[in-house]
C-alpha cells in the first residue's frame, strides 16, 4: 500500500540560502501531521512545494505513489488553506465554496448539494448569501476550510490557519478542526509555530529548524523523548543548562551544578530538565534520582500552572512546576524545599 504522501530528500535553495534541507517524510492516509517550527524556518516553503506553487531544487514529492514532478497546482490532488485565507471577496459564501466544484466536471445540482453539505458540516447553515466582509474571523476561517475540503482532496494543507484569530477563538477552533478532521478522515498537513496547537491536534509532529526536520514523532514522544536539543527547547517549557564538562557519572554545568547522569557515552554541551520532572518534597525514599535542597526564590502563581523558581546557592536558576495539591499551597518565598529529579528525566545533548 502506497503512502498518501512521501517526501524524498526535498531540498530548496534560494541562491545560497537553504530553505529546506533533505526533508524526508512518510504520511499515512487519514493522518493529522503538524509541521512545527519557529518563524522563517521554511514551513511555508515546504507546503508550497507540496501544493506545487514552488519547485523543489532536489528530491521528489509523491502523492499516492505518483511523482508530482511537473504537475501544476490545479492538477494536484491537494488543496491549501492559506495563511491569509485568500477568500474571494467578490463572491458570497456559497460562491466561494462552490468555486472549485464548478471547475470540475460535475452537475450543477450535485455541486450545490456538496457545497451546502460542507457548509453544514462547518456549522455555517444559512450563511450562503453572506458577503465575505460580513463574516467574523472564525466564520471566515470555516469558509476557507470548507472551500478546500469540498474538493475532497487527498491531502489538505493548512498554513497557520488559526494565527489571525484571537486566543479564545483559537482554542475553540483547535478542538473543532481536530474533530472535523476525524469525522471527514482527510489527511491534514498543518503548519504552525504554536506548539500547543501541534501537540493537541496532531497524530504526529515534524519539528523543523532552519529547513531541517529535527524529529518527526508522536506528540507524546516529542515531549518525553526529544531527540535533539532544539526539540527539547522548542516543544514545551524546559529548563536549559549549559554544560561545562563531564566528570565520570556526573555532568557539571557552567554554573557549577554537579548532576548525576549515569550511562552517558558522549560529552554533552547542554542539559534539559522539564519543570514538571522535579518532585518537590518527595515522601520516603526516591531511587535513581538526583536530590538537592534549595530555597524558593519566587512563587509564580498561575492557577493550575503555578510554578516556583529556586536558585541553589551560586548555581543555575531552576523553574519547577507545582502539582495541584493542597500540600504545596502553603509554600512561599524563603521556604527551603527538597527536590528530586529522576535520572531518566535529565536529557543531555551535544549541540
Amino acid at each position: 500500500m502506497d503512502h498518501i504522501l512521501e517526501l524524498r530528500g526535498i531540498s530548496k535553495y534560494f541562491g545560497d540560502f537553504v530553505a529546506s534541507k533533505d526533508v524526508n517524510m512518510l504520511v499515512e492516509e487519514g493522518e493529522f501531521i503538524s509541521v512545527l517550527g519557529p518563524s522563517g524556518c521554511g514551513k511555508t516553503t515546504l507546503l508550497r512545494m507540496i501544493a506545487g506553487f514552488m519547485e523543489e531544487s532536489e528530491g521528489d514529492i509523491l502523492i499516492k505513489g505518483k511523482s508530482m514532478k511537473g504537475v501544476s497546482p490545479e492538477k494536484r490532488p491537494v488543496n491549501i488553506v492559506f495563511q491569509s485565507l485568500a477568500l474571494f471577496p467578490m463572491m458570497n459564501v456559497y460562491e466561494n465554496v462552490v468555486f472549485g466544484l464548478k471547475r470540475k466536471k460535475i452537475g450543477k445540482e450535485e455541486a450545490r448539494e456538496l457545497a451546502l453539505d460542507m457548509l453544514h458540516r462547518v456549522g455555517l447553515d444559512g450563511f450562503e448569501k453572506k458577503k465575505i466582509s460580513e463574516l467574523s474571523g472564525g466564520q471566515k476561517q470555516r469558509v476557507a476550510i470548507a472551500r478546500s475540503l469540498v474538493m475532497k482532496p487527498s491531502i489538505l494543507l493548512l498554513d497557520e490557519p488559526l494565527s489571525a484569530l484571537d486566543r479564545k477563538l483559537r482554542e475553540h477552533m483547535k478542538v473543532e478542526l481536530k474533530e472535523l478532521q476525524k469525522e471527514i478522515g482527510t489527511t491534514f498537513i498543518y503548519i504552525t509555530h504554536d506548539q500547543s496547537e501541534a501537540l493537541v491536534m496532531s497524530d504526529r509532529v515534524a519539528v523543523m529548524n532552519k529547513g531541517l526536520i529535527e524529529q518527526l514523532d508522536t506528540p507524546h514522544n516529542l515531549y518525553n523523548h526529544p531527540k535533539t536539543a532544539f526539540v527539547a527547547g522548542f516543544v514545551g517549557d524546559n529548563n536549559r543548562f549549559e554544560v561545562a564538562s563531564r566528570e565520570g557519572e556526573k555532568v557539571v554545568t557552567k554554573r557549577g551544578w554537579k548532576v548525576t547522569k549515569p550511562d552517558l557515552d558522549f560529552d554533552p554541551t547542554v542539559m534539559y530538565i522539564r519543570p514538571e520532572a522535579f518532585i518537590v518534597n518527595p515522601e520516603g525514599e526516591v531511587a535513581d534520582s538526583e536530590i538537592f535542597e534549595a530555597e524558593i526564590n519566587t512563587v509564580l502563581f498561575d492557577g493550575a500552572n503555578t510554578k516556583i523558581l529556586v536558585k541553589p546557592e551560586g548555581r543555575d536558576e531552576i523553574l519547577i512546576a507545582l502539582p495541584q495539591n493542597a500540600r504545596f499551597q502553603a509554600l512561599k518565598e524563603g521556604d527551603t524545599v527538597r527536590v528530586a529529579v529522576a535520572y531518566d528525566n535529565i536529557k543531555c545533548y551535544k549541540e
Binding site: 501544493a51 506553487f53 501544476s72 497546482p73 490545479e74 488543496n79 491549501i80 492559506f82 495563511q83 491569509s84 485565507l85 485568500a86 477568500l87 474571494f88 471577496p89 467578490m90 468555486f99 472549485g100 471547475r103 470540475k104 472551500r147 478546500s148 474538493m151
Partner: protein, 282 residues
C-alpha cells in the same frame, strides 16, 4: 474667528475665485450664448440645439465619434490590462517603477509633440516606410497615415496611460494568495483572470474607461493630425463653428451637447454594467 479658520479662508478664497472666474463664469456665458440666435437678436431660442438634430452631418458625426470613442476605450482596456498586470504582479517593484517612468514620458512631452512623433514614424516619407524601402521589402510607400488606423493609434497612445494607472492601483491591493487559491481550486489561467483578477480590478477599469472615453471623445489633436478626410471628429465640427463659420452660439451649443451626450453615455454604460458611480472612486 480663530487662526485655523482664517487660514482656511485664506486658502479657500483664491481657489474659489479661480474656479469661479476662469471656469464657471465662462461656462455660464457659453451656456447662455448657446441659446442665442446667430442673428444677434437678444432672444432665447433652441434653434442652435435643433440644428444638431436637423442636419444629419452633425449627428452622424457625433454618432461616429462616440462609437469610435467606445471602440478606442475597449481597445485601450484590452491593451492596458495585461500591461498593468505585468507591471504589478509579474515583475519586481523596482523594475516596474522604472517602466512606469518610461510610460509617463509621453505625458511630459505633451500631446501635440507625441502626435507629430507618430507623423514622423508613419508618414509617407516616415521612418517605417523609408526603412522598409531601404530593406527592399516595398517599392512604394504604404498608406500608413491619414486614415482611421493611424488616428486610432494616436488616440490609443495618448489615452492608454489613463487606463493603465487606475487598473494598476486596484491591482496592487489584490492578494497574490487569492490568485494561487483560485488555481489551487482547479481554475485555469483564463478563469483566474475572468473570475478573480478582472472583478477585483473592476473599479479601476470603470474609472480608466470613463477617463479614456472622455479624453478620446473630446480630443482634437489626434483626429485632426493623424485622421484622414473621412474620419471627421465632432470636436472638429465645434472648431469649425467657432473659427470657420464664426457662429460662436452654434459652437457653444455643440460643446454642451458633447458634454451632455457623452455624460449620458457613461451613465448608461454604468447602469448597464451594474456598477455604481460612488464605487468608482474606491
Amino acid at each position: 474667528m480663530d487662526g485655523n479658520k482664517k487660514a482656511f479662508y485664506f486658502l479657500f478664497i483664491p481657489v474659489a475665485l479661480w474656479l469661479f472666474i476662469l471656469i464657471i463664469l465662462p461656462h455660464i456665458d457659453l451656456f447662455l450664448s448657446s441659446f442665442k440666435p446667430n442673428s444677434g437678436e437678444d432672444v432665447y431660442t433652441l434653434e442652435n440645439y435643433s440644428a444638431f438634430f436637423a442636419d444629419p452631418i452633425y449627428w452622424r458625426t457625433f454618432i461616429n465619434t462616440a462609437s469610435y470613442a467606445i471602440g478606442v476605450t475597449l481597445l485601450a482596456f484590452v491593451v492596458s490590462f495585461p500591461i498593468a498586470f505585468y507591471l504589478v504582479k509579474v515583475i519586481s517593484p523596482k523594475v516596474s517603477g522604472f517602466l512606469m517612468l518610461l510610460l509617463l514620458i509621453p505625458l511630459w512631452i505633451g500631446e501635440l509633440v507625441t502626435i507629430y512623433g507618430w507623423v514622423i514614424l508613419l508618414g509617407e516619407q516616415g521612418v517605417i516606410n523609408e526603412s522598409l524601402k531601404f530593406l527592399g521589402l516595398i517599392d512604394h510607400s504604404l498608406p500608413l497615415i491619414y486614415n482611421n488606423l493611424s488616428m486610432t493609434i494616436g488616440l490609443l497612445y495618448m489615452s492608454m496611460l489613463f487606463m493603465i494607472i487606475p487598473i494598476m492601483t486596484t491591482m496592487e491591493s489584490l492578494d497574490d494568495a487569492m490568485i494561487e487559491a483560485a488555481s489551487d481550486l482547479g481554475a485555469s489561467k483564463w478563469t483566474v483572470f475572468r473570475r478573480i483578477v478582472i472583478p477585483h480590478a473592476m473599479p479601476g477599469i470603470i474609472n480608466g474607461s470613463i477617463i479614456v472615453f472622455m479624453l478620446v471623445i473630446g480630443d482634437y489633436v489626434a483626429p485632426n493630425i493623424l485622421g484622414g478626410k473621412s474620419s471627421l471628429w465632432f470636436t472638429e465640427q465645434i472648431y469649425n463653428q467657432f473659427l470657420s463659420t464664426f457662429n460662436w452660439n452654434q459652437g457653444a451649443a455643440f460643446g454642451f451637447l458633447l458634454l451632455i451626450i457623452s455624460s449620458a453615455t457613461i451613465w448608461m454604460a454604468l447602469r448597464l454594467s451594474g456598477q455604481k458611480l460612488d464605487k468608482v472612486g474606491d
